[in-house]
Subunit: 422 residues, 2 copies
């Protein structure tokens, strides 16, 4: 079985590579026509998708999946329409492929152009919601990449039905064969095979929990773009507008607590802690937020003591840890030590303090007087988002279409040689 | 021992991270002053460096290293001066850190800036020549990164002396402690420890043979930028200027056969093979190049038959494989299948054929009427080169200073929230 599985997945890799060569040459208009055809086919096949999804839902119920899990798994007409509309929207976005990033002429007359090209072949490994099948495949396709998808076992039939619809609908409009492939197995082993297949895959993007990402990172021979935790901070400077501080804290913590750009730790300068903490605590408690704090915080607003572990915990819940700091330096050092280099904010009217914070905090997104909830491809205006990278190479922070591309140097001349021609 | 080694290397990692936070804030002038101080210290310590190098050379001779190996290992006054002059030259290059890559304002008033920042901490694993110690550390430093170096065992004393000179000379001028560290062990194990240390290292660059790169790729948990083989092609189109074809073939094959941008396989269109092949073969043979070819090539110029293996071999020697192809499509397919996606060229006066070749060949550098030997950071005008990446993510092709940086989003506003403020 293991060898057969390996062969199947490697064959898919080889097919993806062949598709990628053809995808790279598709003009934008052709790609957009194909995207609309994919959306149309999803709408057309709604009954089929729902039937496939029912198989997964019934198996999930039998397996005892939680209500929340079953809800994430569920497809209905509205969700299928949302998926299709999302694809139509991706068609309307500008195509980054072919963009001239730079160009110059050397003294010897050779002309160098740096051109944006697709990455090639991308593996997406994901866990739960079946709509990721469409979202990820479509963003990769728009940028001229072939995808191999490996979804979670609970959604296998739903994912297969979606991938089939995208590929079949697209092919009518000129999509190359094997541009979008779904691995028809969900054995754990298939992750290892995919991650070892650097001959056929240029990039792997794991979308899911920390365990999945860790597994992929330890096995992958090709680049991985990781979307790890967001342990986000808000620092209230002595020169902060305290009302703004309350609003930003409440928004970043409570607007959507279960996402990676939500606030997890509040840092407050000691000179304003006695006035700010009671103010913010009142509003947060009214919103049902559990507060934990350092000894100084506890002395002011009477909260449970935060442990060392709290500072490096992504609660993803209505819990907030609070620490009183003696200086901007202490705030920056705390963030660089305990944070996840995702998104962190300073609230202040002092421009010098703000600029110091922005340049000293080593995170993908650093904010001055803006909620960390804006660390998001949509809010950045990217039109679509594949995720928020916590890596520093290739893509950092919100990843849009541009981050799904590579580049190539095209060099033109008239017979230039390095050596002398005899 | 193993645990002690692990602890030592992890401590170096932690120190590198602390140094990186300070390096990121150094202004360009300070960095350039430090670079000149490093160069000065190397010159001052020339006798010490030569003494340390003598220890390595004597051990190498005792171990029976080849003459060529011993020559690569050797340091003398001229080589030390060349290293120092190289550092002075890096000081004169523009600093990419702080460059504004993009900036825009969203309808809600938040202002987003994408700023070039250092990557952070970089591990360099290399094999032979001690000058890599200075070259790599200095390019990383210029871009605000801390480095951990792990050189080959034959050069340990030389590398240690160079790294000490750079760090000590730099510290007098304000270089943060631990900005440049060399692992004082050359056990194979240290590579694995370094590669697993993703908490402290943001990137690993292996510089050396395929075996070293493979080892690093299979162990690394952080991004790796690989500099694999160059299996470079030249395709002679029916519309080629045949004299130019000969000149480019000879230059790409013989100017410096032992490097990655040298030519390995010549593809010739069947319509011109009977006139071109005898012409090019005569010149190549006069230069001592051994020719191997497909059956059709052999029928025209009487060469040994190339095997399937020849098409995917990087000879790095005066050997050339030749294949007659029936079309541009066949040439492109051959290159995409057997090449290493490094550097490939078309020789033709036909603009349409040239543009098709440039967009269909999936390589880092694609050339029209230019020798593949120009795939080089220096020839591109980058001023310095850390290598030529065969990866597609982050850096592709010649890597200069810009490719040693990441970016950060800095977002400024006036209290914007995602949710409504109550």
């Amino acid at each position: 079985m293991s060898e057969a599985l390996r062969q199947t997945i490697h064959q898919m890799g080889q097919q993806a590579r062949a598709a990628a060569h053809r995808l790279a040459l598709l003009p934008s208009e052709a790609k957009n026509r194909i995207l609309h055809a994919m959306a149309g086919e999803l709408r057309l096949r709604a009954p089929e998708l729902i039937a496939a999804n029912t198989v997964d839902l019934e198996a999930g119920e039998a397996k005892g999946l939680s209500k929340a899990m079953l809800d994430r798994l569920k497809l209905d007409d509205a969700r299928i329409e949302a998926m299709a509309a999302g694809i139509d929207q991706v068609a309307s976005l500008p195509d980054p492929v072919g963009e001239v990033l730079d160009s110059w002429t050397r003294p010897n007359g050779i002309r160098i152009e740096q051109i944006r090209v697709p990455i090639g072949t991308i593996g997406i490994i994901y866990e739960s919601r079946p709509n990721v099948t469409a979202d990820a495949a479509v963003l990769c396709f728009k940028t001229g990449n072939a995808t191999i998808l490996r979804g979670g076992s609970e959604a296998l039939h739903s994912n297969q039905a979606i991938a089939n619809a995208l590929q079949a609908g697209g092919e009518h409009a000129g999509l190359p064969e094997h541009a979008i492939q779904l691995i028809p197995f969900t054995d754990r082993e298939s992750v290892g095979i995919l991650a070892g297949m650097d001959k056929w895959l240029d990039l792997i993007i794991p979308r899911g929990g920390k365990g999945l990402i860790e597994t992929v990172v330890s096995l992958a021979r090709m680049p991985v773009i990781k979307h790890y935790d967001g342990i986000c901070h808000l620092y209230i400077d002595p020169a902060a507008d305290l009302d703004m501080g309350v609003h930003l804290t409440v928004d970043a913590k409570t607007h959507k607590p279960g996402v990676c750009n939500a606030l997890e730790t509040l840092l407050v300068h000691e000179t304003i802690a006695p006035t700010f903490l009671p103010k913010v605590a009142e509003t947060l408690r009214a919103k049902g937020v559990e507060l934990r704090g350092c000894a100084r915080t506890a002395a002011i607003i009477g909260v449970a003591h935060a442990t060392e572990e709290d500072w490096s915990t992504e609660y993803l819940d209505l819990i907030l840890s609070i620490k009183v700091v003696a200086s901007l330096d202490e705030a920056v050092a705390h963030i660089n030590k305990y944070g996840s280099h995702h998104s962190d904010c300073i609230v202040t009217a002092d421009q010098i303090a703000a600029e110091r914070f922005l340049s000293e905090v080593d995170s993908a997104c650093v904010f001055h007087n803006v909620s960390t909830r804006f660390a998001d491809g949509g809010e950045f205006g990217f039109g679509a988002e594949i995720g928020i990278s916590t890596d520093k190479l290739h893509a950092r922070g919100p990843m849009g279409l541009r981050e799904l591309t590579s580049y190539q140097y095209r060099i033109r001349g008239e017979g230039q040689t390095r050596g002398r021609i005899e």
